[in-house]
């Protein structure tokens, strides 16, 4: 029997699986993740040597944990549905893009458009996120321990973006109904994004998000809330000259 067959058989019986991307291809990893059946006892996965590879653990749809030991490239955890992914390093562009549910935690920094178009789940960036964080978010919750870059939450539709640090220029440009909570300074607000009153229900919501993201020593009352002024929802004839 070829050696690879043997190791597959052995590994298959274990509840935890280790994939070393120096030894196996990314496609083998993702295929193995996609082959998981509901109720599988292989619930703890570990990925070694990701070395900036793209699309690590994309499209997972089972409630497993995946620990990625190192930094990843584009689209890590994209379309995640129910798994809990931890990146023990930094993430390239598009981490958690279009996440449906589950969670992704990045121990380091995240590059551009973290959580873009995400429909659900929780994305936690323990370092800084870059530009366009939460662009077009559609229900995802994003908690960034550090700062976020410019054009974050552009056209954000729903969900919550929580930033413990500062936000770059044009935060929430053309925002719909997402809620943005920023503890530090905001370089500038984008079109139709305004500061809003923090009511008790927002404080409660925010505290829940901070708790879920494992944030301690920070009070919900330290944040400001931003959201849509809703003036772009309908065409205003006074703006006709602008077109």
């Amino acid at each position: 029997m070829p050696a690879t067959k043997l190791s597959e058989t052995v590994v298959h019986d274990q509840a935890s699986r280790v994939f070393d991307l120096d030894q196996m291809s990314l496609r083998e990893l993702n295929q193995a993740l996609h082959n998981l059946a509901a109720g599988s006892n292989e619930t703890a996965w570990e990925v070694l040597n990701p070395k900036g590879n793209h699309s690590v653990a994309v499209g997972v749809d089972q409630p497993i944990t995946i620990d990625v030991r190192g930094s990843v490239g584009y689209y890590c955890g994209g379309m995640n549905s129910g798994s809990a992914i931890t990146v023990h390093g930094s993430a390239g562009p598009g981490v958690g893009e279009n996440m449906m549910s589950g969670s992704i935690t990045v121990k380091g920094d995240a590059s551009q458009y973290a959580g873009a178009t995400g429909k659900g789940g929780l994305l936690v960036i323990e370092g800084n996120a870059s530009s366009r964080c939460g662009i077009s978010m559609k229900g995802i919750d994003i908690v960034v321990h550090g700062n976020i870059g410019h054009m974050s939450a552009f056209m954000a539709q729903s969900g919550n973006l929580v930033v413990l640090g500062d936000a770059g220029d044009a935060l929430g440009d053309s925002i719909y109904e997402a809620r943005l909570f920023v503890r530090g300074k905001v370089d500038s607000l984008g079109a139709d994004c305004i500061a809003k009153e923090m009511r008790p229900e927002h404080l409660e919501l925010l505290q829940g998000l901070l708790d879920r993201a494992g944030v301690t020593g920070v009070k919900a009352a330290e944040f400001k809330r931003y959201g849509s002024a809703r003036t772009l929802y309908n065409f205003n004839i006074d703006n006709a000259d602008a077109y």
Partner: protein, 298 residues
């Protein structure tokens, strides 16, 4: 897309490995651009000679006998080292401009890739690995270098459309992105007396920086000028005789990541390009900020 890399060594003990380190970085980004690839290496300076990197589509015809003819034409010895379609011409620094003119008279089909005291530039159509092998880049030594793998957008897939572009002595530039006002800027620079080899947008960026530095600006100030004078998408990595710089446009959608240790400063379009550098696990790794100039000088 396109992939760009840069490596600026602080630790002299790494200099013999510059070519192999930079080659590995560039090859790791091959899937960002399969059209053509190029590399510029800044070697050890010499008081006695300057260099011209030349290229010919017909090297057997154009390089044969050139050494003797050129020496005769400029009245001083020259050496020519041929590497595939490229060759490096070495002559006394005081004679280098004369040599350049003489080459163009003696062999009108030869293209000048770059001129300077230390820089050598190699670029061709093909994948990074093929280009690196063709010019034996891995064996090259030096203090710093930049590289590019191209997915063409603004001009044809040709050797001359490949990066790096060099428009001034020991100056060169690689670019990820596309410029939208390059025709206007090219016209202005032509009026100033700059010359262009191609219709390529990146050559305009290189010439813009050369022009700024010719007007007395340092590398950092010249890079600062790109933010107001060049319109479009860009991440530039730039080399000068003793310097290395990076700038991204204010929108910054072209990816970039940098790493710094006591031994080097490295740039890659992606982190993938940096993973095999020594000590990378403990390096300071960061994404360069939009509209912010970074530069280092020896």
């Amino acid at each position: 897309m396109c992939g760009i890399v840069g490596l600026f060594l602080k630790d002299k003990s790494l200099e013999p490995q510059l070519g192999s380190m930079l080659s590995q970085m560039l090859i790791s980004l091959s899937d960002r651009g399969p059209d053509s690839a190029g590399i510029a290496i800044y070697g050890a300076p010499s008081k006695n000679e300057a260099k011209i990197t030349i290229q010919s589509a017909k090297p057997e015809r154009d390089f044969r006998g050139l050494e003797a003819e050129l020496a005769k034409a400029i009245g001083t010895p020259v050496t020519i080292t041929v590497k595939s379609t490229h060759a490096v011409v070495r002559a006394k620094p005081a004679k280098i401009d004369e040599a350049r003119e003489a080459i163009q008279t003696l062999r009108p089909d030869i293209r000048i890739m770059g001129v300077g005291d230390v820089v050598e530039i190699y670029k061709e159509v093909g994948l990074p690995e093929a280009v690196v092998d063709r010019f034996d880049v891995r064996s090259m030594t030096g203090t710093h270098g930049i590289g590019h793998t191209r997915m063409a957008t603004e001009s044809a897939v040709t050797t001359m459309g490949a990066h790096p572009f060099s428009t001034g002595a020991d100056q060169c530039l690689v670019h990820n992105g596309s410029l939208s006002n390059h025709n206007n800027v090219r016209r202005e620079l032509i009026r100033e007396g700059m010359t262009f080899e191609t219709e390529n947008d990146t050559e305009v960026a290189a010439a813009y920086l050369s022009s700024q530095m010719a007007h007395g600006k340092n590398l950092g100030e010249a890079l600062e000028g790109t933010l107001s004078d060049l319109d479009g998408f860009f991440t530039f990595v730039v080399g000068t005789k003793n310097g290395f710089g990076v700038v991204r446009d204010p929108i910054a959608c072209k990816p970039a990541v940098m790493a710094e240790t006591d031994q080097y400063v490295a740039f890659g379009s992606e982190y993938r390009a940096l993973t095999k550098l020594p000590g990378i696990d403990n390096a300071r790794v960061w994404e360069p900020e939009p509209a912010t100039v970074y530069f280092w000088e020896h």
